[in-house]
């Protein structure tokens, strides 16, 4: 082992930094922590921790198995703690309506062919390709961030999660 130790966070062990205001409004910095947000979330709730106009980064607590989801544009997840498996399938008749942005819940299980699975650990990133249905599963509570567009499933709780 070298002389350096890389410090990561986890649901069980995270240490927030600090926002020190000199002459500004703390709300403008939307300062939060993805592990803290996930520690207070229900499984697979999609809590926006960053927003840039229509684009968002969501913090997600992965635990058990999620609904089947899909999107009309590419999305990406990065696992920040734990292990998450993503199963992919063609949505078939269950495909969400076109023209809508953000993650959408399928009306039922996907009717199309199975596409495969990706097993992710901390630091791993996966593409959730446009048009594919996907489902997360995690054997123990884990944490992901998801790059997507603001959608019906995005929850904005800025006053609850941010230092103000």
């Amino acid at each position: 082992m070298g002389r350096y130790t890389t410090v990561t966070g986890s649901l069980d062990r995270f240490e927030r930094g600090q926002l020190t205001i000199i002459d500004d409004d703390p709300k403008h910095y939307c300062y939060s922590n993805v592990f803290e947000v996930a520690s207070k979330s229900k499984p697979y709730d999609k809590i926006a921790v960053a927003r840039n106009l229509e684009y968002v980064i969501e913090a997600i607590r992965a635990e058990g198995t999620s609904d089947w989801l899909a999107c009309n544009h590419d999305e990406f997840v990065v696992v920040m703690d734990g292990e998450v498996t993503v199963s992919f399938a063609e949505p078939g008749d269950a495909a969400p309506p076109q023209g809508k942005d953000g993650t959408q819940r399928l009306s039922g299980p996907p009717k199309g062919r199975k596409m495969g699975r990706i097993h992710l650990k901390r630091g791993h990133q996966a593409l959730l390709p446009k048009g594919a249905a996907y489902q997360f599963s995690a054997p123990r509570p884990s944490v992901m961030i998801q790059q997507t567009i603001l959608g019906d499933l995005t929850q904005q709780k800025w006053a609850e999660i941010c230092t103000s």
């Binding site: 410090v7 500004d24 403008h28 840039n52 062919r113 990133q125």
Partner: protein, 342 residues
Amino acid sequence: MAMPESQAVRGPAKAPEFKVAMSEPDPKTGFRAFELGEFHFLRDEYFVHVSWPTKRGRLEHRISADAFLRALMRDVAWGFFYGWVNFDAMFGSRNLYGRVEFFAGRYHEAYHKAGLSYVEEFDSPFAMATCKAILRDWCNAGFDPFAAPEETGASWAGTKKGENIAAIERSRIATKRMPGLFGDSPLRDDLPVNRAFADVPQDEPVIEVEPGFEGRLHGFNLFKYLSRSDVTWNPSVTSVCRESLFCPTTEEYILPIIHGNDRVEWFVQLTDEIEWEVSDKETGRPRARVLMRAGDVASMPADIRHQGFATKRSMLLVWENARMDLPKLYETGQLKPYPVEF
């Protein structure tokens, strides 16, 4: 063969396509002097001297040569980046996208109020040619302006001793969707793990693809990818959701510029910690300090400038919105400088 983070695309250094105003090498130091419009640049053993015209005659400002070269390297590598690249409190550039403004004292409250500031605008390709010529001449052999000080040492100091063209001719590798996808930017499997990330697991996601869907599913170890970054403070795109760009980077020592935003950007601290000093973009007056540890998220409003400090090399996810009309929307007040209201 993977390429260093921003290597390659270019071969050996080419002669500038533009006529760069430069002197013969100084007989004492070996360095050339350069001009960009009314700005004059001179290098000695330790300092870069930038001068510009004022109503009281030419004013000269001194910047440590290593700091100047690290900042200039970012300006070149990033194509003048988003918004303002302050080399320090006095001197820097502002990207007008196609044109670029260089300024001295303009965003230093006291100098600007005293009428001692100066701004001049250039076609970006011409300014870029001058910046590259300065880097070529002023970077001594062994000095990599992208590397952390512990890695590149003090070879920047002293008189001219050779050059380091390979280090300064890097350019950003463009990612269309995600590194490692067919036809997209490469992963970094053949690069060494940086000394500060020797403990970062190097395993890849397990991908099981059903027949007929080869190439559709993709994942990679982002932390492994970052652990093999050969540069510091140099974001690379690792995922593209329309104009939403994940641009993670590894950070050690001091961000060599003070970045002034022309849009809101966001930071997600992936590992370790960085402390940010946040000041007013126009005046430089301090507004906040943000200590970010693993998992912390913070926005950087559109009306600030910021500089980061990291003792241990850390992984930072910089999140950008690449919409081209954003600078105008923020500047005209059509968008508020902060991202959300609550």
